[in-house]
């Protein structure tokens, strides 16, 4: 069902290398304690609990635009737990807001989330293309529009939390500034790669190679500084090899169903459902993605839908951009509706459980549903108005 000759074309090595490289760099970044330092600085500047909740959520979102969602929650949630412990307030809504904000911003940049990396690689999008694509403001702005409106939701949810925050004490000491430089440097290199002229004929795996090269630099400097084997093994162990294995399997499966014509048949069926209307098709893709991602992991779903949308756009003779952007935003935000919709949600609930707090589904829905709608509706309208009309 998948000839060996089609195998190299089915495996997206750029995605695999990018994910592996950035995961390792992020672990070095976490180990340096820079995220805690940044969170402490935020806490020293906010007047009360309400602003602490909004600030930590926005900070988690900012980090998540460049760092994996689960890693972001693992970094920022302990800060929120410490703040809530001092103030003797319930940490559950804080942590949920951090998780949903992390999920939202995962679609903002090329490196924000695995699904963004997958889409970027499929469309040969550079880092800069997430900001400006085909001469128009791109998906980054759709996400930020949603972030602004959903921040207002968080502000409203914490409307009764006005207890002042006293000075938190000394700032967390950063153990090593090199990982921060590496993370910023990786992003800078990805931006520079996006401006490389076509005549250079850079390989498709350029972004992945850059990320792995920066990781190699990080490992070498970490080892030179600490002179211990775990300076190298710990960041490497942080690479989620199970996700990489999952992706390899999915790529092979999708190569198989593409080669055998299943994808083409599915695209034809969806085109029929759309009735020839691109707007109807866009609406179906967005809101079906939101609903499906609420219950299943968005990585397999997006991996499957990318070639389906390519076939669908070819059948309908339309620009696939709004469909792809709608897929990414819907699949990213849908995970915020339920506690199981995203790995970051599960990580957040795990942290709360360790602190002795059980999270009823109703508590999650109370935040997740308004957050998702307030972020998704403006993004849905924005993408159509900029790319659909």
């Amino acid at each position: 069902m998948l000839p060996v000759s089609e195998l190299p074309g089915s495996l997206d090595f750029n995605v695999l290398l990018m994910i592996g490289g950035t995961m390792g760099i992020v672990q070095l970044f976490i180990d340096s304690r820079m995220p805690e330092r940044l969170a402490d600085q935020i806490m020293n500047r906010v007047p009360n609990v309400r602003w602490a909740a909004v600030s930590l959520s926005l900070f988690a979102g900012l980090i998540s635009a460049f760092v994996d969602n689960v890693a972001t929650v693992l970094m920022v949630a302990p800060v929120a737990v410490a703040v809530c412990r001092k103030l003797k307030t319930n940490p559950v809504p804080f942590i949920i807001c951090i998780a949903v904000s992390s999920n939202l911003q995962g679609a903002a940049t090329l490196v924000g989330d695995t699904t963004a990396i997958m889409l970027g690689s499929a469309l040969h999008m550079s880092f800069a293309d997430f900001f400006w694509y085909h001469g128009r403001p791109a998906i980054f702005f759709a996400v930020e529009l949603g972030a602004v409106l959903s921040a207002l939701i968080i502000f409203f949810l914490f409307r009764r939390e006005k207890a002042p925050i006293s000075q938190s004490g000394p700032l967390t000491e950063v153990t090593d500034y090199v990982p921060t430089v590496l993370l910023v440097g990786t992003i800078a290199l990805l931006i520079c790669a996006s401006f490389a002229p076509e005549s250079w004929n850079l390989p498709a795996e350029t972004n992945g190679i850059l990320c792995c090269a920066m990781l190699a630099v990080g490992l070498m400097t970490s080892f030179a500084r600490q002179k211990r084997p775990d300076a190298v093994t710990r960041p490497l162990k942080a690479i989620d090899f199970e996700t990489l294995v999952l992706l390899v399997g999915l790529f092979l499966m999708i190569g198989g169903i593409t080669h055998t014509g299943v994808v083409g048949a599915l695209a034809a069926l969806l085109a029929k459902l759309g009735g020839g209307s691109v707007f109807r098709m866009y609406t179906i893709v967005v809101w079906a993605s939101v609903l499906i991602s609420a219950f299943i992991d968005n990585i397999p779903y997006v991996a499957t839908m990318i070639p389906v949308i390519a076939g669908l756009a070819a059948q309908m003779g339309c620009d696939p951009t709004p469909l792809y952007f709608g897929l990414l935003s819907g699949a990213t935000l849908g995970g915020n509706i339920t506690p199981i919709g995203a790995s970051a949600n599960i990580a957040a609930i795990g942290i709360l459980r360790r602190e002795g707090y059980e999270v009823p589904n109703s508590d999650f829905f109370r935040i997740g549903i308004p957050f998702t709608l307030s972020a998704m509706i403006p993004a849905y309208l924005y993408i159509w108005m900029v790319y659909g009309i």
């Binding site: 998948l2 294995v245 999952l246 390899v248 999915l250 499966m253 190569g255 080669h259």
Partner: protein, 53 residues
């Protein structure tokens, strides 16, 4: 096309049912696609029939 679609749906159901083993289920399924591609899956029934007759 139908066996490919059936295998795909079956894989998804297994991945959702046994979330802990999801990566390995996907990998095995992917390898099945590759092996059947190597061994010309479509000609299996014809090959068996011609062997038996």
């Amino acid at each position: 096309m139908i066996p490919a679609a059936v295998l795909f749906v079956l894989t998804y159901v297994l991945m959702m049912t046994f979330g802990k083993y999801r990566p390995y289920i996907a990998l095995v399924s992917g390898l099945v696609y590759v092996l059947t591609g190597c061994c010309r899956f479509r000609s299996f029934p014809a090959a068996w029939i011609s062997m038996c007759c």
